[in-house]
Homo-oligomer: 274 residues x 2
């Protein structure tokens, strides 16, 4: 059997790696420095799949991955919900009372702001959560902590000072799996597509009416600037159903006539919570 | 006459200062380190107005200011569109051929990415555009440039190596003016409000139908996570008309019944382009 290769963004121990492992427990994982490199690895055929974050339940949409989905010729074929639990991680044997700062990705720092203030720890931004753990280990910083997953602490042989230090407990990130190959219907599917409409009153409403009149459940709507004409948007919608379903095929046929631009990103089995 | 006080985020020379000056040319301006401090200055009465960025025509919405608008008891009373023109700024007399890096806010660096690659300049993130100019001046960095407004170059007595180095020319930021006091109708007004709906099929569509049936032109719709229940959203909508107009009053009365939560942020004279 050929081992599948899957790219994710971040260092080993990143939340993206955990989401990837939940879908591809036996695959060969390729960590990438940036989302752009993740997409390039997939498009060049260096990997078979990629797993990208699209939305966090506290911070909202990930603008960069939304923009990259517009321009790729790959399809969305899966969905994963990853629970985010942040931990204060220190060097083994470091004295808690001497810790003065906490290194992590700016979003992780923001999600632990109240807890960091209570402990009087200065937040210091880094490019990655697991990368912060690696850094305080390599530099032997005994007066600093890192904020990252339990997995990152284990991988680098570090100590957990305190678990679950996020301020809000309902912290999940939704990841999408992308590849060259479409997914078959499972009976519990979602579909994502992008469209743009003329800048006239009621244009967006006219499109949403096509979903409502068919009883199709929209689960998310997001707008991103076209970057060409100011205040013109691409709308990204997620809804229940598979692109092979008759009523979704009808919907897409009508939308092709009523939109200026439409791109079906793909259909996928709805994700489970991990 | 009492001089008005107005807060903005960033250092003198920041684009936020330019937007503020276009609305309040004679006011006393108070630069603030963060958006949170901007809101606190207004709420405490330390300033009369604040000017905050809400959306950029390339990068999209500013999540942090959207979230702060949800929790403030201040109202939106004005709108400004500020043209963003980035410049490569260096120390006077510095040798162009020796410049190796460019310091600026991550969004400004992203907006000049292609141009920086052409010149082989390494992008280095800082917290503010004008702050980067101040920094390369104070540290006398002759092998580095900063990316910021022409005004920042003038204020710090620096040299412009090249003007308008942004990759896309349609670069505008939309700012909102906030204060304690509502604005009177001018005949060319916009209104902003926030609502949430039950997580049932067609709920969002049912709200948009109220706008469409009255011929009210939605100019923007944005969703932000509630942060309490995963995948439940607050919707932020901007539309034409003033809250004192009869049909907008009717709309708001109906929306109060059909939404779980509604907050009218305010009505304001539509902004001009600067």
């Amino acid at each position: 059997m050929v081992t599948q290769k899957v790219a994710f963004q971040g260092e080993p121990g990143a939340y993206g790696e955990m989401a990837t492992l939940s879908q591809f427990p036996k695959a060969e994982l390729l960590p990438a420095k940036s989302f752009q490199i993740v997409f390039q690895s997939l498009e060049s055929g260096a990997v078979d799949f990629a797993v990208i974050p699209i939305e966090n339940s506290i911070e909202g949409s990930v603008n960069e991955t939304y923009d990259l989905l517009l321009n790729t010729n790959m399809v969305v074929c899966g969905e994963v919900y990853q629970r985010i639990r942040h931990n204060l991680i220190i060097n083994p044997g470091a004295d808690n009372s001497k810790i003065k700062s906490a290194y992590s990705h700016p979003q992780a720092l923001a999600q632990c702001r109240v807890n960091l203030q209570k402990r009087n720890l200065e937040p210091i931004p880094t490019y990655d959560t697991a990368g912060a753990v690696k850094m305080i280990k390599e530099k032997k910083l005994n007066d600093a902590a890192a904020i990252a997953s339990k997995r990152a602490a284990d991988l680098y042989g570090m100590e957990i000072w305190e678990e679950n230090i996020e301020d809000k407990t309902n912290n999940y990130t939704r990841f999408l799996v992308i590849s060259k190959v479409q997914s078959e219907p499972t009976g519990n599917d979602g579909t994502s597509l992008i469209f743009s409409v003329k800048h006239v009153p009621g244009a967006l409403y006219g499109i949403l009416a096509e979903f409502a009149s068919r009883g199709i459940n929209l689960t998310k709507i997001e707008s991103r600037p076209t970057k060409e004409v100011p205040w013109e948007y691409y709308f990204y919608v997620d809804f229940d159903g598979h692109r092979n379903d008759k009523q979704i095929r009808d919907l897409i046929r009508v939308l092709k006539k009523k939109t200026m631009f439409i791109k079906v990103l793909g259909s996928y089995k709805r994700g489970e919570f991990h």
